[in-house]
């Protein structure tokens, strides 16, 4: 499967989406409330300033959900699409793992 073909799964749960958003805020050390986060725009901005921050976000996501993102999914546009990213993680996350 490739990053382009991934995303046909059912819509992800709001819980997963919010966990990703929370990890994003923590990994990038943003001073912002979860409900005020414009995820895609902030990701664009962060990547423009410091692309290592994106790497830190990916590794934090992997730790949070106990998944390893396969190399073909390590693409900026894939990460930017929160819905596809959340679906991908739900498909691979260990069932029953509680948020840390």
């Amino acid at each position: 499967m490739t990053a382009d073909s991934c995303g046909s799964s059912p819509a992800p749960s709001p819980d997963t989406v919010n966990r990703i958003r929370r990890v994003f805020i923590e990994a990038l050390r943003l001073n912002i409330h979860l409900e005020n986060l414009a995820y895609a725009d902030t990701l664009d901005e962060a990547a423009g300033l410091d692309s290592v921050a994106i790497l830190e976000f990916v590794l934090a996501l992997e730790k949070e959900f106990a998944v390893v993102i396969e190399p073909q999914f390590l693409q900026f546009d894939f990460l930017r699409d929160l819905s596809r990213l959340a679906s991908y993680i739900e498909e691979r996350a260990i069932p029953g793992r509680s948020p840390s």
Binding site: D44, A47, G48, L49, D50, S51, V52, I54, L55, E56, V58, L59, P71, Q72, L74, Q75, F76, D77, L79
Partner: protein
């Protein structure tokens, strides 16, 4: 994506450097499609007759920098090395034309590849390898050659090379053409300005592949200063973040020579100290990285392309 520094209105419209660049990008490049490499090198020898006197000021700067640095270069050797740098620069550009032809990788003549076992052992560890190198004339030859023997290398490159000697026309019209040419030469590359740059690097490393980073390249957003041959120099912190976060191996590589005969030397994998934080990691390991580069430059001063850049 960044397109380099803005064009200063005080810069001259056209410089001698622009004329050389135009000749290189159009007539010489066109001829290179048909000419045998030996004939291309003959053009290089003719070009050198004009380039050496035109580079007098540049050579003076280089000589001053060589003598100011703890490079082990004597006052009598420095001018000779500066002339050699001009000459090597010309053949380096001609080799780029050779590399830009299709199937060029198989026409390269590697006269020696030492330490490949270090590279293979590091790859076998399974977390990918950062090939630590510097701005040496033959680095591109080395990477293209490695791809032909089953070790494709992703090169991290800053687009828009130095504009210092370019006029306004050169910056606007010729530098973008140079970037296009370099893309054809390097082929397997990612721009350091690409917002997904680190992801592409991680992608390659996690696939067990190789990523070439010139450690002496342009310092990024969070640089560190450390003496290189006794002179303070800014180094990018990006490579340290990548190594720390991906836990990949780091293997130094040096490639010297021309497309008609070059050699590659891999050194043993660097023994790095893993630490809890980024700053600690840099503090503990920076000297190891710099020492590698320093030895490479001191042993091959006529091959290092950044003498003129502080």
């Amino acid at each position: 994506m960044s397109v380099g520094p803005p064009v200063s209105p005080s810069a001259p419209l056209l410089t001698v450097n622009d004329v050389f660049l135009w000749l290189y990008l159009y007539p010489v490049r066109f001829l290179s499609l048909f000419l045998h490499r030996d004939l291309l090198y003959t053009i290089g020898r003719v070009g050198e007759i004009f380039a050496q006197p035109c580079s007098r000021r540049w050579k003076r700067i280089v000589v001053d920098r060589m003598l100011a640095a703890d490079s082990g270069i004597s006052r009598t050797d420095a001018p000779r090395l500066a002339r050699q740098l001009v000459s090597n620069g010309i053949y380096h550009r001609l080799d780029d034309l050779v590399l830009s032809r299709s199937g060029a990788g198989h026409r390269l003549r590697c006269v020696g590849a030492a330490g490949l076992e270090h590279l293979e052992a590091a790859k076998a560890a399974g977390k990918g390898v950062i090939v630590l190198s510097g701005h040496f004339f033959a680095s591109r030859l080395g990477n293209r050659y490695l791809a032909t023997i089953g070790h494709p290398v992703l090169t991290v490159r800053h687009r828009s090379p130095s504009h210092v000697r370019a006029g306004r026309l050169g910056r606007r019209l010729l530098r973008p053409r140079i970037d296009e040419l370099l893309h054809r030469v390097i082929q397997d590359e990612v721009s350091a300005h690409d917002r997904g740059c680190t992801l592409k690097i991680l992608q390659r490393l996690r696939s067990g592949g190789l990523v070439d980073i010139h450690f002496d390249g342009r310092a990024g957003a969070r640089p560190f200063q450390w003496p290189l041959m006794g002179i303070p120099r800014r180094f990018s912190s990006g490579i340290f973040d990548l190594v720390r976060l991906s836990e990949c191996a780091v293997v130094p590589m040096l490639c010297v020579g021309r497309s008609t005969g070059f050699r590659i030397v891999f050194s043993p994998r660097l023994q790095l100290v893993m630490t809890a934080t980024r700053d600690e990691f840099v503090a503990v390991n920076l000297a190891t990285f710099v020492r590698v580069l320093e030895e490479q430059v001191q042993n091959n001063p006529e091959q290092w392309t950044l003498w003129d850049q502080p």
